[in-house]
């Protein structure tokens, strides 16, 4: 289940035309492990106008605590729907279909005049009255500034601030990051390769993308460096329209290699696997996860297609292909789902993570449990329940 703030952020990015998928931060988000709630949490949020929203969270993890959040956006948050109206696919983080970036040469954008949009968000925790705040400011069509900060008298230096300066030109996206916590500097970039078909302009419809990115970190005060580089290939099967994503990531400092493969096998199921290997210690790990969505009604019409045995020349992509791809997408988008079960397990961790997320009346409910099988008796590592309502 997406947190309220995540939904707001997505909605803001959508309304301002900012592509967050085109950043290194989300390069492996398709195959990322889902989080298990750790406590009992109740979240009520309301969008009072298109520009403002409020959220109240009460949670119990041994002690009762909570938070109140307010936000203001200069751009109308039209996509932010209440839990009564929202579809489950929108409300729950699921398989992320990667679209190739629309590489514009500044021609189409001239029609639309750029407007500087901003988002202000503040959240007060109690007890302890820690304050967190976020400001997003679009500077130009291709850049924005994001500032996150936490203020509390319990913290060292009474708080922390993190600045992100993000630039996205479609083909190339980069971020400069500075955090006052241990004076951490970071640089992240992602480059999208142009493909043969696209270059030659023989494809009418191209839906695959190949990206390469890297991140560099250096904490000045604690002298901690960090490097990693990743490659992502994402495409859609032209025969059935199923999207698939492959990533290969490498940490050259520690000799760690991680490869993932995720595929949305049908409208209601996703499978993902990850293989990790360390070149220095020969440590390896294999993890596996899946998502199964439950239909609301039983009468479902899967896209049954006859495959034409005649091979079509590569250069002649027909509009028929496009219709297949779009049919699958719209099927995923328009089907009514009632709940989803997520499973994940790993060989090294020897655990089973199980999550159930769904809608009950107008409430979004997310529950999960993490069971560890390391000893003879399986033990529950974490378990929790979250209930969200927003209007």
């Amino acid at each position: 289940m997406r947190e309220f703030m995540d939904s707001v952020l997505r909605s803001f990015y959508k309304s301002t035309g900012w592509k967050e998928d085109n950043f290194y931060e989300n390069v492996v988000s398709t195959s990322e492990d889902f989080p298990i709630p750790t406590d009992l949490k109740f979240n009520i949020a309301s969008k009072s106008t298109d520009y403002t929203a409020t959220s109240l969270v009460v949670s119990n993890s041994g002690v009762i605590n909570g938070s109140i959040a307010y936000l203001y956006s200069s751009s109308p948050l039209k996509d932010l729907l209440g839990t009564a109206d929202i579809s489950l696919q929108e409300a729950i983080a699921s398989y992320k279909v990667i679209r190739p970036p629309s590489i514009t040469n500044g021609q189409t954008d001239l029609n639309k005049e750029f407007q500087s949009q901003s988002l202000y968000y503040g959240r007060m925790y109690f007890p302890g009255s820690a304050l967190e705040a976020m400001v997003i400011k679009r500077i130009s069509q291709s850049s924005q500034l994001l500032v996150k900060c936490v203020s509390s008298d319990k913290l060292k230096n009474n708080g922390t601030m993190t600045f992100y300066f993000q630039q996205d030109s479609g083909r190339f996206a980069r971020e400069f990051i500075y955090s006052t916590n241990e004076s951490l500097f970071g640089l992240r970039c992602l480059y999208n390769f142009s493909q043969g078909a696209e270059r030659l302009n023989t494809a009418l419809y191209n839906n695959s993308s190949l990206s390469l990115g890297c991140e560099l970190w250096y904490g000045v005060l604690n002298m901690s460096p960090g490097v990693s580089t990743s490659m992502r290939y994402s495409t859609q099967s032209t025969a059935t329209g199923q999207p698939l994503t492959m990533t290969l990531a490498l940490n050259p400092l520690l000799g760690h290699i991680s490869s993932t493969y995720s595929v949305k096998t049908s409208a209601n199921s996703t499978f993902s696997s990850r293989y990790d290997f360390n070149l220095f210690s020969y440590d390896s790990d294999l993890a596996f996860g899946c998502e199964l969505w439950k239909y609301k009604s039983n009468d479902i019409s899967l896209p049954i297609r006859k495959v034409n045995p005649v091979l079509v020349p590569h250069s002649k992509h027909s509009s028929y292909d496009q219709s297949v791809l779009e049919a699958f997408e719209s099927l995923v988008k328009d089907t009514d789902f009632s709940s989803v079960i997520k499973l994940s397990t790993g060989i090294n961790d020897r655990n089973l993570k199980l999550a159930w997320e769904g809608k009950y009346k107008d409430f979004l409910i997310s529950s999960g449990v993490d069971i560890r099988f390391k000893s003879q008796v399986p033990e529950v590592q974490t378990c929790g329940l979250q209930i969200q309502y927003r209007s």
């Binding site: 290194y24 931060e25 390069v27 492996v28 820690a130 967190e132 996150k148 900060c149 936490v150 913290l155 060292k156 922390t160 601030m161 993190t162 992100y164 990051i177 955090s179 916590n181 241990e182 951490l184 970071g186 991140e215 970190w217 904490g219 604690n222 002298m223 901690s224 460096p225 960090g226 490097v227 990693s228 990743s230 990531a249 490498l250 940490n251 400092l253 520690l254 760690h256 991680s258 360390n278 220095f280 210690s281």
Partner: protein, 440 residues
Amino acid sequence: MSCDIKWNFDKKLMESWSKELLDDALNSGSKSNFLTSKITINDLNFGNIAPEVEILEIGDIANDKFRGIFKIKYYGDSFIELKTSIQANLLNVYIKNSKQELNGDFTLPNFKLAKESFSIPLIIKLSDIQLSGIIIVVFSKLKGLTLVFKNDPLENINVNSSFQNVEIIENFLQKKIEIQIRDLFRDVLPSVLNKLSQKYTTSNLINQLYQQRKNSEINDNSNNGNIDNKRILLSEINPMEPELSPANMLRLSTLIKSRQSFGLNILPMNDVIQRQNLHKFTNQNEIFKKKINISYLNKFINNNSNMNNILIQISKIQSNFYLNENKRDNLKKRKIKLNNKRQKENDKMESIDLKSNDSSKTLIDEEQLKSNEIKIIQPSTNKSHSIESQTMDLNYKPILHFYNRPNSPSTTTSTKSHKFTNIGLGYNWMDSPPPPYQQL
């Protein structure tokens, strides 16, 4: 004076015991994010060379207390080998630390593979430990063992690790471990010893008495083969009796308040022994030491008919208590007639006026004091189980006094109730916290 220490004890037993102890001590508390596994002790050896101990001074020696200064020297061949694994990715440590500190990851950037954990096994061998220092040992039955190092005892330590060929890490470890061990001698060791010693000495006399009673009972019943293991607590006999009765607390606070005065002449505290005069009291009242013993408690619990005798004995001890430093004459006992109803209830009760010895001029009017006097009530035979023997008027509100006061030995006024001690079952003087030790 120096001591010859026999170092040929059963080392196997000692080593396994101290391994367990160290294992607990090393893995207790919150683990540093720098470590990825718990610390285990691979090997522990006490060596063959004994430490040299020289007695410099013995300040205080008695049955229940001891204070001495020692000089200790150790140039032995003992060693210890520890095994753990450490996090090699500093960014991972940074993230974990920040998450703990910030209680969330709101301001933390979303790291990808750069944060991947990478642990390296680490074996550390500490040898050539050379210690030389002066220790101050203070032992008391109440507080247990207190051990203080007067100087930094660590002279040399040799650290060998599995990173021997990497000089930077080697130096880093050497420095860190030296700091840790200095810390160990300064803070950890004294506190561990203090905790450990408190298991063996006791601050709770009653518990010890019960233990002895239980043992004696086992001996008594060994012929019959019928052992009663059930412990009987005072609170079981009289569940209404709190550990320190509120009446006594109030009484103490009244006494303290009476001293919060600018007056030069204050009311003497009749039924109170102040701590600085305690030793005189205990010397004078040898009877106290002799009379309260285990057999009393045995009888007290086993035989209800003896209880009245015991209570009378205790009240006698309490009345002995009224003897002040200077005045050893008998106390004035006075019957009070407040009203008829009360008199009927309390016709057997005797009470003592708080103000019995006061002859100086005060601003407190006599009437008020009379009506609010504190009564010590003799235990009545009707209430055989009641230990609460003192009552007090709760409405007593002392006013600020300004009256002449002779030079008193206790010029310092304190609001802490433990400065005042008294004897009785409800508030054993052994239970009251001891005065702070002399600064060493």
